[in-house]
Every structure is written in structure tokens, then in C-alpha cells.
Amino acid sequence: MKAAILVFPGSNCDRDLATAFRAAGCDVTMVWHKDTALPAGTDIVGVPGGFSFGDYLRCGAIAANAPVIGALRDHAARGGYVLGICNGFQVLTETGLLPGALLRNARLKYICRTVGLRVEGESLFTHAYGTGTEIALPIAHHDGNYYADADTLDRLEGEGRVAFRYTETPNGSQRDIAGILSENRRVLGMMPHPERACDPAQGNTDGARLFAHLAGALTAA
């Protein structure tokens, strides 16, 4: 399976994400934000965490208009898989590939700790855990307070597109939402960092199953 990881000025989880994909057996190519094409045969695009363009204007807003985003949109339109983590989730909402927006945390603090998550929406990303399972993943963000209007939230819940929910919201997110899926369930945006929980040395390996299942399923396909 081939993964492409977008790199913006200020991305800082790009190499962690590459390590997680490689550990799961994927070929990984890093793609600079000025590139206008993805490597041929890309199965999944990773949009990494960090502070793209210094979080100027709004988190993810400048990155969402970078040259490489045209290729990302084409990939998603073809039914390609996309995984946006933390700043990557913010970029995906700014591009409109996922609904809603991420506001400043309700208590204004940058939060860096491990949180409990309930796995919900069925998808290739969540399948390894199974619906209803509780896992733990680290979060590290200042703007992770998920917001969407009530109709959008109802639609997401009605269609089973809430992939992960906080067992106890750390940041004020509407309906405790930590990650959501696109309509075709192939684009996932999530604030927690599965790539930071992939190796026993990181103290937690709950994230590894996500990458292992993705790699297995996409290689078989």
C-alpha cells in the first residue's frame, strides 16, 4: 500500500506519521505543499499534525489553499482514502472535505495528555477496534473544539459518521466529537494522535491497529 504524506511549513507530525505507516508495512512518500500531483498509485494521503503556516489567520486556513490541495481534492473525489490528524483535521475542515470547524478549546488552554475515546462509526479506519470499544490516544492541541450547526451534527450522527467520541470532552467539542468521517467513509479527520501511540516505547500502542488494518485492507484491495 502506498501512502503519501503532505508536508507544509510548520508540519511537525509528518515524520511520526511516516514512521507509523512504515511500521504497518506501507511505502511512504513525503509530498511538499508546492507539489501539484501525488505519486502515482497513492492509496491514502496523510495530512499531518503541526502548525502549518504558523496557524496564521486560522488553523489550517493557509494550508487548505496550498497548491497540493488540488491533488488532494482529486484523490478524495476518486474515492481515495485520506487521514487528517490534528492540524490535518483542521486542514480538512478548511478545505470543506469534512464539515464543521475546530474552534479554540473551551477553556482556552493548550491540552497535551492522553484521553479516552469511544470508537463509533464503521469504516476502514475504525474497523480494527470495533464499534463501542474504548481506546486511549494522546491529544495535543489548542484548537480542537469541534463545532458544526445542529443540522450537520444530526446528519453526522444519523449517518454514523462520528468515528471517535471523547469519553469525557477535554475541549468543549459539540457532542464530544473527536473524529468524523466523510459521506463515503474514506476521509477521516481526528484530533487525537494515533501515530503517537504505535510503539511500546511510546507507552501506548492503541494507535497501531488503525494503521495495521488500513495497510492490510488497502494492500489486499
Binding site: R58, T93, A101, L103, R104, A106, L108, N145, Y147, G172
Partner: protein, 76 residues
């Protein structure tokens, strides 16, 4: 010519920074401040003849996130 764009969180979207400012005002003894909303102002230097519609396009595409923000344009 210049344009001035004022961007605010939409009504109903929680503004935690505004709330923090309101609390701080209360702590300084300014009682009775019912609400504080914090936004941003962007000043643009533009070629003469730029229309408000062009600035609105800039707001829709980049300057504001219309999921959570509203904008107001003043052409000068």
C-alpha cells in the same frame, strides 16, 4: 484604495476568548459587562477600482471561515 474587513464569530458560536475577557473585566471591577465578542480586522491595500464583490470573494475563499464566522466589508 483600501478595504477593511471585520470578521466575527457568528451569533451562537461560543467565543471562549471573549468570555475570558469578560471575566477579566469583572475581576477589574467593571461590573455588569453582559457579553464580550472578540473578532479581527483585516486591512487590505487594493488596486483602484477593486469591487466589493471581489473582496467578498476573498472573504469566502480565505479571509473568513463561513462555517463559524461572518464578515463585514467597508470599502474606502
Amino acid at each position: 484604495m483600501k478595504a477593511r474587513v471585520e470578521i466575527m464569530l457568528k451569533t451562537g458560536v461560543l467565543d471562549p476568548q471573549g468570555e475570558a475577557v469578560r471575566h477579566a473585566l469583572g475581576a477589574l471591577g467593571f461590573d455588569g459587562v453582559g457579553g464580550v465578542r472578540q473578532g479581527k480586522v483585516i486591512e487590505l491595500e487594493l488596486p483602484d477600482g477593486t469591487t466589493e464583490a471581489t473582496v467578498a470573494d476573498m472573504c469566502e475563499k480565505l479571509l473568513a471561515n463561513t462555517v463559524i464566522e461572518s464578515y463585514r466589508i467597508e470599502m474606502a
